[in-house]
Every structure is written in structure tokens, then in C-alpha cells.
């Protein structure tokens, strides 16, 4: 409970801080809009010529764009800044300022640079695209519940994937570009799962679970797939939680603080 209260206060402070830069917020909203428009345009150009992409119709394609945008916005606004801060803290030996607090350090670190205003500004963009997709193919009400649950688990998986990556900073000194690995890998999540085949598709659903992130929520929402996909997601989440925990513990053993 204490950790939750600290995170709540942190988010409140960050909210007030961000409100001071309104023009900046509007501009970054436009950047997000452009990202979504790009995704929508790509699919619109394709769907103007074909009925479906490997069995995925236009509503599913659009829902995929909106869902991925939602997920990336949630992670980008709430967790990315904090997680990306870890390499610099390790590099400068200043991680103690998080380790000494009476809250789990990874959790505190993750939310330390959250930008809650961005969620308010930008989340509606993804929501609008998903809502439009739903207006084209209305789902059953219980599917919305599966979808929401699935998005939450996806957010956890994605955050843990980024966390595992930044934990490598205990071993690699300069890793600014290592972030791009994960963001580039997300490219695989942008397209319908059906375009990938065989072992590679299995790989993208388990070891490198990029298809789990946005494809699974859309499959649950609009394609009527079994809710067992949620269990699959949960197992992946557990796997990455275990990996993240192990990397963090091993990393701390290597860490050398600068004191203070």
C-alpha cells in the first residue's frame, strides 16, 4: 500500500510539472497524431486494394493500429522515461537514491519520470481509432472486458521487456541505442499476426512475445478468439517478471555506487 501511495504522489507531482509546458504538450500530441495517422494511412492504402490481410479485415487492421498506439502511449507516458533513466544512474553510480527508499526500487524508478498529462492528451487518439474500428464491427460486450484485461497484461509484458533490456546497463556502459532495439522490434507488432508463419510466428508469440502485445487484444475483441489467450499472456508476463527479477538481482551485485 505504501508503494502505491508513493506512486500516486509521484504521478501528481509529475502532472503539475508537465502542466507548466503546455505548448510542448500540444506539439507532442501532434507527433502522436502523426504516428497514428501514418499507421491508419498504411492500412487504408492496403485495404483500398484488398479485402483482407491474411484474413484480417479493415476493422481488425484499424483496431490493431489503435491498440498498439494505446499501449505505446501508456508505456511511453508512464514508464519509459523512468526506465530509460536506469542506465544513466548505473553509469554515474547514483542508483542509491532509489535503492535506499522504502519502496521497491524498480517500481519507484519506473514511475519516477512519468508524464501523466501525456496520457490525458494522447490516449484519446488511440481510443478514437479503436472506437471507429468497433463501429465497423461491433463486438459482444464481454469481449470488451477481455480486451481491457488483455491490454493491461500487454502493458505489463512490454514494461518488463523494456526493464529487462535496461537492466543490461549493469553490464554495458553506453547503451543509449539499445533502447532502439526494443522500439524497432515493436515493428513486428504493427502488423496482423497472420502475416507471419510457422516457427517464426510461434517465436513472436512466446520467446519474443511481440504478437502478444497488440494482436492478442484485437483477436480477443474482434476475431472471437478463445479467452485462453489471456492465460497465454499471463504466462508470458510471469516469464518476463522472473527474468527481470533475476537480471536486477545479478545486476545489483555488479553495481558500484559513487556514494552519497
Amino acid at each position: 500500500m505504501g508503494a502505491l501511495r508513493v506512486i500516486k504522489e509521484l504521478l501528481k507531482l509529475r502532472f503539475q510539472w508537465e502542466l507548466a509546458f503546455r505548448i510542448d504538450a500540444i506539439l507532442s500530441l501532434l507527433a502522436s497524431l502523426l504516428y497514428i495517422v501514418g499507421g491508419v494511412l498504411l492500412f487504408e492504402v492496403i485495404y483500398a486494394r484488398v479485402e483482407s490481410i491474411g484474413g484480417w479485415g479493415r476493422p481488425e487492421g484499424l483496431a490493431l493500429v489503435g491498440t498498439l498506439a494505446l499501449l505505446l502511449e501508456l508505456e511511453g507516458s508512464l514508464l519509459r522515461g523512468g526506465l530509460q533513466h536506469l542506465p544513466s544512474l548505473v553509469h554515474k553510480g547514483r542508483l542509491e537514491q532509489y535503492l535506499l527508499r522504502p519502496v521497491p526500487a524498480p517500481l519507484l524508478l519506473a514511475f519516477s519520470k512519468a508524464i501523466p498529462t501525456r496520457v490525458i492528451w494522447r490516449l484519446p487518439l488511440g481510443v478514437v481509432v479503436v472506437a471507429y474500428a468497433l463501429s465497423l464491427a461491433p463486438p459482444l460486450p464481454e469481449r470488451l472486458l477481455f480486451y481491457s484485461l488483455s491490454i493491461l497484461i500487454s502493458l505489463g509484458i512490454y514494461a518488463l521487456m523494456v526493464f529487462c533490456l535496461v537492466c543490461l546497463s549493469f553490464w554495458v556502459i553506453e547503451m543509449q541505442n539499445l533502447f532502439w532495439v526494443i522500439y524497432d522490434l515493436v515493428e513486428f507488432a504493427r502488423y496482423p499476426a497472420s502475416v507471419y508463419r510457422g516457427v517464426f510466428r510461434l517465436f513472436l508469440s512466446t520467446v519474443l512475445p511481440l504478437l502478444v502485445l497488440a494482436n492478442f487484444p484485437v483477436q480477443l475483441l474482434l476475431r472471437g478468439d478463445s479467452p485462453l489467450l489471456l492465460l497465454h499472456q499471463f504466462l508470458v508476463l510471469l516469464g518476463f517478471w522472473g527474468l527481470g527479477w533475476a537480471l536486477w538481482r545479478r545486476g545489483l551485485q555488479r553495481y558500484q555506487g559513487a556514494g552519497g
Binding site: I46, N177, F188, Y196
Partner: protein
């Protein structure tokens, strides 16, 4: 005219600094490896159902994305965020007291920092092309390859100038990060990174804007879709855009410096 040695030194020093962190350069390879591979699967499925999309069949489309991704991923559309930050925190003063042009120094530094990425990226792109050799269209005309690279290098300077210009907005705003992120997203999209510009609605508008010089146009030259007789005119257009951007940068710089309140050296 400032002494060119300062800019050359900035170039080589930054290159050395970049080369200190070789793993960091290696990680950036994913920017040219992953996106074309991912989109390959999409287009293989789509163009397996229809023969072509506009003037793009599967081979042309795959080649387009592999080449354009190399160009766009290696174009510094946001210049250097440090420029805007130094204006905001007042440390720009440290640059103002130097006997060299700020834009020139940063251009030199930026090119120096990018050269190792370009060389490695070229190897990565060759690797992707080899992996997708069944689809990739190799250009054999050295003139077209040379013209494409030259056009892209012009686009790189144009992209840097665009980013530099937007960083200067920090003279008037408290923070320019949003502007720079927007600049990067917009330029990458308008350079043809998401979808070929000639497949978009209102293509005349997108093809008028200068961002195509950093991605779409060099790729079209590589694909052999721009005739040799058209090349001089395209280079002239690039030059005109570049001059316009430079004039605007000078104007913003002078106006901005009047407002600037720096910290002491």
C-alpha cells in the same frame, strides 16, 4: 569566413567520441535491420493477393523499404536536442564565445558522429538485401547509385537544418522537446518512411515538400525511376530548399540571440 579547421576538428573529434562506444553503434543496426524485415512479411501477404499496388510490385516494394529505411534511419531530422537544451539552460554562452559558426560546428559534429553509423548501417542494409535477395532489386548502374547517395547527402544536410531550426524555437519556448519529436515524426513520415509518397492521397503536396530528398527521392533514383535528364532539376530544387532553410536559420538565430539570457562563462 571562419577557419575551416575548427569544423574539421569538430567532425573528427565527434567521430572519435562516437567510436569509443562501438557497442552503441552496433545496437543502432536494428534500425535498418528490423523495420524492413517486419514490413516484408506484410507486403508478401498483401502482394500475394494482388499483383501490384500502384507502380509497386513485391520486388519494388521490398527494395523500396530496405533502401528508404537506410536513408531515413540515418538522417538526423531532429539535429541535436542538446542545441535546444543549451538555449534553455543558458549554456549556449559557451558556444557563443568560440570563434566559429554555431550551425557549422554542430553540422561538423553531427556528420562526424554519424559516419560510423552510416558505414555500419550500409553493411546491415547489404545484409538485409542479401537475406531478401529473391525480392530485392540490385541496382547495377553506378551513376544512379552515386546520384542517389549524393541526393541523400543533400537531404541529410537539409534534415539537419530543419532540426536545427526547430531547436532554435527554444529561444521563445520553455522547452523544445515536443517540437523536435514532432519534427522527427513529421519528417520521417513525409520522407516516405511509412508508405511511398506516390501511393498517398494528395501526392502532389507531399512531393512538393523538401523531406522527400532525404528518403523517397534517393530511393526512386536507386530504383531507376528518375531519368538522368531529370536529375539536374531535382538537385537544383534541393539546393533552393537548402538555401531557403539556411536563410530562415540565420533569421531565427539573430532574432533568438536578442532574447537569449545566458549564464556566465
Amino acid at each position: 569566413m571562419h577557419d575551416m579547421r575548427a569544423y574539421k576538428s569538430a567532425f573528427f573529434l565527434q567521430m572519435q567520441s562516437t567510436l569509443c562506444y562501438r557497442a552503441n553503434i552496433l545496437f543502432y543496426l536494428t534500425a535498418v535491420l528490423i523495420p524492413p524485415l517486419a514490413i516484408f512479411f506484410l507486403w508478401r501477404t498483401v502482394l500475394g493477393e494482388v499483383d501490384a499496388l500502384g507502380a509497386y510490385d513485391l520486388g519494388t516494394m521490398i527494395t523500396y523499404y530496405v533502401v528508404v529505411q537506410f536513408f531515413i534511419a540515418h538522417t538526423p531530422f531532429s539535429a541535436w536536442v542538446e542545441i535546444g537544451e543549451s538555449i534553455r539552460d543558458g549554456s549556449l554562452t559557451l558556444w557563443l564565445v568560440r570563434p566559429a559558426n554555431h550551425y557549422g560546428l554542430y553540422l561538423g559534429r553531427l556528420l562526424g558522429s554519424w559516419v560510423p553509423f552510416w558505414l555500419l548501417g550500409l553493411g546491415g542494409t547489404a545484409g538485409v538485401a542479401a537475406l531478401l535477395h529473391r525480392y530485392f532489386q540490385f541496382q547495377t548502374d553506378p551513376v544512379l547509385i552515386g546520384a542517389a547517395v549524393l541526393m541523400w547527402l543533400g537531404g541529410v544536410i537539409l534534415g539537419f537544418t530543419w532540426g536545427y531550426m526547430l531547436n532554435l524555437v527554444a529561444f521563445w519556448t520553455e522547452r523544445a522537446t515536443g517540437m523536435v519529436v514532432l519534427a522527427e515524426q513529421a519528417a520521417s513520415f513525409l520522407a516516405g518512411g511509412v508508405i511511398p509518397l506516390d501511393l498517398l492521397p494528395l501526392q502532389e503536396l507531399w512531393l512538393f515538400l523538401p523531406f522527400r530528398f532525404a528518403g523517397w527521392l534517393p530511393t526512386q533514383i536507386y530504383l531507376g525511376r528518375v531519368s538522368r535528364s531529370e536529375l539536374p532539376l531535382e538537385f537544383l530544387k534541393l539546393l533552393i530548399w537548402l538555401m531557403a532553410f539556411c536563410v530562415l536559420v540565420q533569421w531565427l538565430w539573430r532574432r533568438g540571440l536578442r532574447r537569449f539570457a545566458g549564464v556566465g562563462v
